[in-house]
Symmetry: C2
Subunit: 394 residues, 2 copies
């Protein structure tokens, strides 16, 4: 046993208290648009709204979080109402005439930006699924399946999404669409059951996603999960192909470990998830300053993104989940130790003792680089999801 009962209790209580007494109250106090519905996530350190534009990603992510708290923590009507009004905002203001979701809209819901890809749809899918379960709302359940169907079609059917590059010269694919397919299918299955989407059950989409990640992106011989590869998993020896994202890979590891757990510690999935975790911990942990580096190069060459050595909040959230889940599944001391390392580094550097919640962006040495509490990429998702998941896990 590599954690005492006392340590486990202390950790569990800490995650619960962070979620219930700090992070959720912060977003309820500052991040809810009581006039138009939905979330305002661009907040200064004290919660002041510094940009009223709305991220469609965060409408879905926030609605998912609050509906999930309603079904798994406490049936608080205000949580359900926040989720309900956000789902309505997405439905009424975030869809273009073809039904595809925007990337950003104004506070009132006028369209600002459409992007090629479909992550807005994936987050709307989990929001609607969680809300459907919380409220017993059949329309939301149908919308969840529709959004996920759009996501799958655009992400995986050749020709549906317009290409970013000239695809013939160097065909490539990323791990991100598979990871999001995997976690979205997990969420829908957990709330709506193992439903059919685009001709396959959620479990089948999970199996396919994990199989392709394992076959084409995970390179145990290189000690890395790659982000971008050729169509058959070939290593692309250019900046994009060499750039590793350890926090993203650790997130992938815990999605797979979560699936292993649901399947009675399935040994193949366990081995895969732990393999990715072990490799990418080594790739990402900063032995000089502590914390998880944002990008590293798998050959150790310089990285094109100049801010590669910054410490972001969300890779630490994912690393905290991945190491705790690995410890829970294996009992191995190495995972308890890694969890202690990343938990302590994160809690020493990210939280704002004055106004609450976490800062999002630190320099490599742990000093605060930006004092904002939210923007189009930081809102009520990674941090409260981590606190909720770890609390419930323990």
């Amino acid at each position: 046993m590599s954690m005492t009962e006392e340590q486990i209790t202390e950790l569990r209580d800490g995650y619960r208290a962070g979620l219930m007494n700090d992070v959720i109250p912060f977003w309820m106090r500052h991040g809810i648009d009581h006039e138009y519905g939905g979330f305002l996530t661009s907040l200064n350190e004290d919660g002041q709204v510094i940009d009223t534009d709305k991220s469609v990603w965060f409408q879905g992510r926030g609605a998912w979080m609050f509906a999930t708290l309603y079904t798994t923590v406490e049936r608080r009507p205000d949580w359900l109402e926040i989720s309900r009004r956000t789902i309505a905002f997405i439905r009424e203001h975030c869809r273009d005439s073809a039904g595809k979701l925007y990337f950003t809209v104004t506070r009132e819901g006028r369209p600002l930006r459409m992007r090629r890809y479909v992550y807005s749809e994936a987050f709307a899918a989990i929001a609607c699924a969680a809300y459907a379960k919380a409220a017993g709302d059949g329309r939301a359940a149908e919308e969840s399946v529709q959004y996920f169907s759009t996501y799958l079609r655009h992400s995986f059917e050749p020709g549906v999404m317009p290409p970013k590059s000239v695809p013939e010269t160097r065909p490539s694919k990323g791990v991100a669409p598979l990871m999001i397919a995997l976690v979205t299918a997990q969420e829908i299955r957990a709330t709506l059951g193992d439903v059919m989407v685009n001709g396959a059950r959620c479990s089948e989409w999970i199996n396919r996603s994990i199989a392709e990640i394992e076959r084409d992106f995970y390179k145990p011989e290189l000690g890395a999960l790659l982000e971008v590869v050729g169509l058959k998993g070939e290593v692309i020896d250019h900046f994009d192909g060499r750039t590793l994202n350890p926090g993203h890979a650790l997130e992938c590891a815990w999605f797979i470990l979560h699936e292993a757990r649901l399947r009675a510690n399935d040994p193949r999935l366990l081995k895969l998830g732990l393999g990715i975790l072990d490799a990418m911990w080594e790739r990402g942990w900063d032995h000089e300053h502590g914390g998880i580096l944002y990008f590293t190069d798998f050959k150790g060459l310089p990285i094109q993104e100049y801010w590669h050595d910054m410490k972001f909040w969300w890779p630490h959230n994912e690393a905290i989940i991945a190491t705790l889940l690995a410890w829970k599944l294996t009992g191995a001391a190495v995972y308890a130790e890694r969890h202690r390392l990343v938990h302590e580094w994160a809690h020493r550097h990210f939280p704002d003792p004055r106004h609450g919640e976490w800062f999002g962006y630190l320099h490599r040495d742990g000093s605060v680089a930006s004092r904002l509490k939210g923007n189009h990429w930081k809102g009520p998702f990674h941090l409260p999801r981590m606190q909720w998941y770890c609390w419930k896990l323990l």
Copy 2:
């Protein structure tokens, strides 16, 4: 007199030596593709090529630099040949079937990425103009005008360039296309004469660009040159509209001061250029660590780009030119002092004493964040242009 003759001589010799003994030899040794023509700019600290993909921006920028050295420094055949082979590479490999230039191609010249905007064209235009003058090549002169014509049409004729956002909700425009129109017209006029492009002479494009920058982007009452405004110059109080780019604005200032100098110290242009310089020096100079901050917010709020406080090489190159030119035109001690500050900070932190040239990306405190010498945005342009311009100015 705020600089002694001895100081001026020392500065001038330093810029010349940096250009001729360090930076140009570094790029000739490591950055020339002797097999396919053109420039390879993704280099490690020691000059090793770490990505063979080619930036089309840098084919134009590099060809311009070497043709300009040929006409203004020394008629070295190898410089002319580098420029000639790069122009040929652009002509043969960087154009799509409609004649628009790609953003990146492979080393051999197969297309990788097309972007909506047209900076590849602007840099190809100055390359062809400088080469046309260097080699007396009429075809290159025609191509220069064609590229600039495409640039102007896509940048300023409504409907030619596909919009990035939903333009109806919040119509906006950026200062960058006007700055590049201004400097491209200046280069073409300097090499090919005051030719007609799209119905107006280069001087007229210069006048129009400066007038619009002054009318819509420069806000003396706010002490700032804005990067993005509404179509009539309205301040957009969102992240994008508040974000200042001091190095970019200082570059704009010296383009205008350069024009003032060519027009016998035209007082209106002088006042405008110095006004932008004064305002944006205050906005950008880091009083805590020295150096020019990459982004600042004109209301002092947090900035969306998390790497806002990094120190990049090119804003320092632009600040060095702007302050030296302002001093040359006015003799005012304040500009000599600012030039000394930014010259000394830059030369203390950016140069690599071991392998030569400059690092490009430093943390706020001046420590090196990336050891690469070049990528798709750093190559033989900002640094040697600064050394060449300051040498010739003194």
